[in-house]
């Protein structure tokens, strides 16, 4: 399963080769209903309808965690699951990368990355040895585009006390030692170099910049400059200011008793203080202007990575549910229109998908595919075709039924993973959604009708405003791209090219 694996996995046999890239779990589906499909040149997908399918949609209720507000303002979510003797801890500490100051992109990320490099009680190597000796994991990160720093730990349930000791040590008492920081910077610089060799990173970087224009939302990584500039003092300040009990959701799932766990978490985090910070205002800048194309010049590429997207809404926006369903129809998996068109019909790509996000601020909706260089324009024509189709033709009822059913029916699969279920409930807290959000989620999905899908498609999948990015070999694709709009060119360091 490419996609879940690391570089090393690729080594293991020269690649585990999958039929469809990743494990595809449905989060929705769609199909070309043959009989409703007026454009006969589109799908060769054939529905024989002979396989035995249970008409019943297995509706499940996700188990709810116990939610406790600690006196220091931290919210604790506890979800017991006794199948196996392991335990998982997960903290979300606002506001993460959104609080990166001007001129220091990646400060939140670097602060999180340095938490394990030394505390008042333990050196970097002591932390590493304790964690590994438990067979545990302990890590912290502050993803770009997310509004929180994530600290997580997993281990055997018998080690819960020790894991919390370690976790509280790095969160409450990091020292950001100078010698460790110097080494950390070198690793960050190397990581950045490695990422710049990856066309998907370059594409995401260019698209976020086109969609959001200004930091922090337009930024997807630290820069060479910010890595060089950042000081231990910067990290300390960021930590002092934003790592607060009141900013924190603390989730525990797995094999434990809730009463014991509440006491244990209180033992290690009860003395932590700090009131919650108000939500940050994000810059409203964005384009909304006419469609444009950013070409990222990556010489010697044999494929063009195409991305075509737009800004969306906040997670609490009423457009969110119709967007989710619309996305499933258009690009939510190997059963969706983009895949069937660009891959199964036209053989342009190994896979074409779309993805929608929504956050405390507007997220994005992005369709993408990696296509061989000579069919760059052919593939863009297919994106144009499918984007127009979803915006201008009502989605057939049967296709919509499939999409809604796939989302609702897939809830059963999530029951396997308590940490995933708990993550869903933590999001409810994080986004300020209604307490019964996951209980009513299927009803919200069921209520999305063709009119609602058409409305969001017209509003968001609007070709006159779509931002395009093409990562590939400039000398081979620049001329064909000009057919689709004004082209600006950047190099693989993100700098404008003439």
């Amino acid at each position: 399963m490419i996609g879940t694996a690391k570089i090393v996995k690729a080594l293991r046999h020269g690649l585990v080769l999958s039929a469809a890239g990743a494990l595809f779990m449905s989060t929705g589906g769609a199909l070309f209903a043959q009989d409703n499909n007026k454009s006969s040149d589109v799908s060769k997908v054939v529905r024989l309808n002979r396989a035995p399918v249970s008409k019943e949609v297995l509706r499940v209720k996700l188990p709810r965690p116990t939610i406790v507000k600690l006196p220091n303002g931290m919210t604790l979510l506890l979800l017991e699951d006794h199948k196996l003797p392991t335990i998982s801890f997960s903290m979300m500490i606002r506001p993460g990368q959104l609080a990166d100051p001007d001129g220091l992109p990646g400060l939140a990320s670097m602060t999180a990355g340095m938490l394990r490099e030394g505390t008042e009680k333990r050196s970097s190597v002591q932390l590493a040895t304790e964690v590994d000796s438990l067979g545990a994991t302990l890590g912290a990160s502050s993803a770009f585009g997310a509004g929180f720093t994530s600290v997580s730990a997993t281990g055997l349930s018998g080690d819960a006390d020790h894991l919390l000791d370690l976790m509280s040590d790095i969160v409450l008492h990091p020292t950001f030692p100078g010698t460790e920081l110097a080494q950390f910077k070198q690793r960050e610089e190397a990581n950045l170099e490695q990422r710049r060799a990856n066309p998907n990173f370059l594409g995401t970087e260019a698209l976020r910049k086109a969609l959001f224009v200004e930091p922090p939302l337009a930024v997807v990584s630290a820069t060479k400059d910010s890595i060089e500039k950042v000081t231990a003092d910067d990290l300390k300040k960021f930590h002092d200011q934003h790592y607060r009990a009141g900013n924190t959701l603390f989730g525990v799932s797995g094999d434990f008793r809730s009463d014991d766990m509440k006491a244990l978490v209180t033992k290690y985090f009860g003395a932590w203080s700090g009131a919650s910070e108000p939500a940050l205002e994000m810059p409203k800048s964005g384009t909304g202007g006419p469609s444009r194309i950013t070409l990222v010049d990556r010489p010697d590429s044999v494929q063009t990575v195409i991305l075509a997207g737009t800004r969306t809404v906040k997670r609490t926006d009423p457009d969110y549910f119709p967007l989710v369903v619309m996305n499933q129809v258009l690009g939510g998996g190997p059963q969706a229109r983009l895949f069937l068109d660009l891959r199964e019909e036209h053989s342009y790509t190994y896979g074409a998908y779309s993805n929608v996000t929504a956050n405390l601020y507007p997220g994005d909706w992005i369709g993408s595919a990696s296509v061989r260089t000579p069919v760059t324009d052919g593939s863009m024509d297919r994106f144009v075709y499918e984007y127009k189709r979803i915006a201008n033709e009502p989605v057939p009822e049967s296709e919509l039924d499939d999409a809604r059913r796939s989302i609702i029916a897939s809830f059963a699969l999530s029951l396997e993973s308590p940490s995933q279920v708990l993550g869903g409930w933590m999001n409810v807290q994080y986004f300020g959604l209604p307490a019964d959000y996951w209980d009513t989620y299927p009803d919200h999905i069921s209520a999305v009708d063709p009119t609602a899908v058409e409305a969001v498609a017209k509003k968001y999948v609007d070709l006159s405003h779509i931002e395009w990015v093409a990562v590939g070999d400039r000398k081979q694709i620049e001329d064909v791209l000009k057919k689709y709009g004004p082209v600006s060119v950047v190099d693989s360091n993100g700098n404008a090219e003439k």
Partner: protein, 460 residues
């Protein structure tokens, strides 16, 4: 257990040794008992092996069909064919239309995929429990009656060629990952890549697909595993209903996987215009999977590079500050396997200096072995990861299917923890001495470009 875990691990690397733990009692990993799985095995009259594993934790089930065929079975001129064939299995059969497989599984809340390695090809679905018939029907229909047509073949040939471009030709180090195997093996079976060459993919014909289907996709060359929320008697009755009338076939020809002894280290250096940093990959030859020596080398790999306290991380990344990353990744095949070591120097460091430091780490293990503390730590890491893999019925089904078809050892999922726990420091030391031999070493070095290579003597 590392074998199962490679994909699960978070960061690589590791290290330390010799560091004394705090006074805390390390939770006795050895006291943790993983509840054993109840594998109910039977064989249909057509030779299909069926393994049922009830697990009522969640209202779902997973089905895995593992075929005893992989790229090792390919012939010269048809590299990449086993994997191309895997793609054909999603193109329809007598009662399932082209693309309908995706629709039926995804639109009913499930997940699915397939994949191909050197040794085996697997197909799997996970679905809500009320769709048990659906998964069985889909798998049986394509085992019985694949739709082999020229348009489907031409379509998927082009798709696979895009897959190759996306995962190999358009990626930094893509060619190095293929070259290391072709350098390390002389026997064609493992020497060539699973993804195959563009020319060979172009040469694949409809007759090739028909022959391959008849030869390898027979019930007596496959294992069917179902794990999840079902009644075993009911499930077995359904399996018989859908699968038992599929005719068996003569056993496929055996493939000679044996590798002659090598004399002398093998080296290759390539320029990769898509890479921004150099890289070195070493591969030592080690024995097949599910053998005591392979387990010993798996444990050694955990000691060398799993976690930030591992040797590679502490010595090469932290103390000597030579590497941006280093990892040890032994593989496991049914024949001769490889112990890969992969290192990327940090900017400004010469790749040969990193390789020399890696060699010194290996020499240290050969000379002095590892410590009991390191081994205890590795066991704890592997055990915890292994337990986590058991949460998913799909992962469990896939592991059992693979162990059955590769090693004829489906119970390995229940014995793996003990087999790894049985590995001693003496065994690891002996294995390191035996397999870390320069005559058995292949090395592929990647340099970003000729220009950068020229600079390699200086700044780079």
């Amino acid at each position: 257990m590392q074998r199962k875990l490679v994909a699960a691990g978070l960061v690589v690397l590791c290290g330390v040794c010799g560091l004394v733990l705090g006074s805390r009692k390390v939770a006795a990993a050895s006291d943790v008992k993983v509840p054993p799985l109840d594998l109910q095995e039977s064989k249909l009259s057509n030779g299909l092996r069926v393994i049922l594993v009830p697990d009522h934790t969640a209202p779902v089930y997973a089905i895995n069909v593992s075929y005893n065929v992989g790229s090792r079975n390919e012939r010269p001129g048809r590299t990449g064919f086993a994997h191309l064939f895997e793609h054909m299995m999603f193109q329809g059969s007598d009662n399932v239309g082209k693309g309908e497989h995706f629709l039926l599984v995804l639109n009913n809340g499930g997940g699915m995929n397939g994949n191909t390695t050197d040794d085996r090809t697997v197909y799997f679905e996970e679905l809500p429990k009320n769709q048990l018939d659906l998964g069985l029907y889909l798998e049986s229909d394509r085992m019985r009656s694949l739709a082999i047509t020229q348009p489907n073949l031409d379509n998927q040939r082009a798709v696979v060629q895009e897959e190759r471009r996306q995962s190999v030709d358009n990626q930094p180090y893509g060619h190095a990952y293929l070259d290391i195997d072709s350098l390390a093996f002389d026997n064609f079976a493992y020497k060539h890549s699973t993804i195959g060459s563009m020319a060979d993919l172009n040469a694949a014909s409809l007759d090739d697909v028909k022959d391959f289907f008849r030869t390898y996709y027979a019930p007596d060359n496959a294992v069917l595993v179902i794990v999840g929320d079902f009644d075993p008697a009911d499930a077995l009755a359904k399996v018989k209903k859908y699968f038992e009338s599929i005719p068996s076939q003569p056993a496929p020809p055996k493939v000679d996987l044996s590798e002659e002894d090598h004399y002398g280290e093998r080296r290759e250096s390539i320029y990769d215009p898509l890479a921004r940093l150099p890289q070195v990959i070493q591969a030592y030859r080690i024995p097949a999977g599910d053998t005591p020596d392979n387990f010993a080398m798996q444990m050694l790999a955990t000691i060398l590079s799993s976690g930030q306290s591992s040797r590679f991380y502490q010595h090469l990344v932290k103390e000597k500050q030579l590497a941006a990353s280093v990892s040890a990744e032994p593989d496991e095949r049914i024949g001769p396997s490889l112990f890969y070591i992969l290192g990327t120097p940090r900017p400004g460091v010469k790749v040969e200096d990193l390789e020399k430091a890696i060699d010194e780490e290996i020499a240290a293990v050969v000379k002095d072995g590892v410590t009991p503390e390191e081994l205890a730590k590795a066991r704890a890491q592997d055990l915890r990861r292994f337990i986590d893999t058991r949460r998913s019925v799909l992962q469990t089904a896939n592991d059992i299917g693979e162990d059955a078809v590769l090693y004829n050892d489906p119970e390995l999922i229940n014995t793996l923890a003990d087999k790894e726990a049985a590995v001693t420091v003496d065994q690891i030391h002996a294995a390191a001495k035996k397999y870390f031999v320069r005559d058995q070493l292949a090395v592929v070095t990647t340099l970003p470009s000729p220009k950068q290579a020229a600079a390699a003597g200086g700044a780079q």
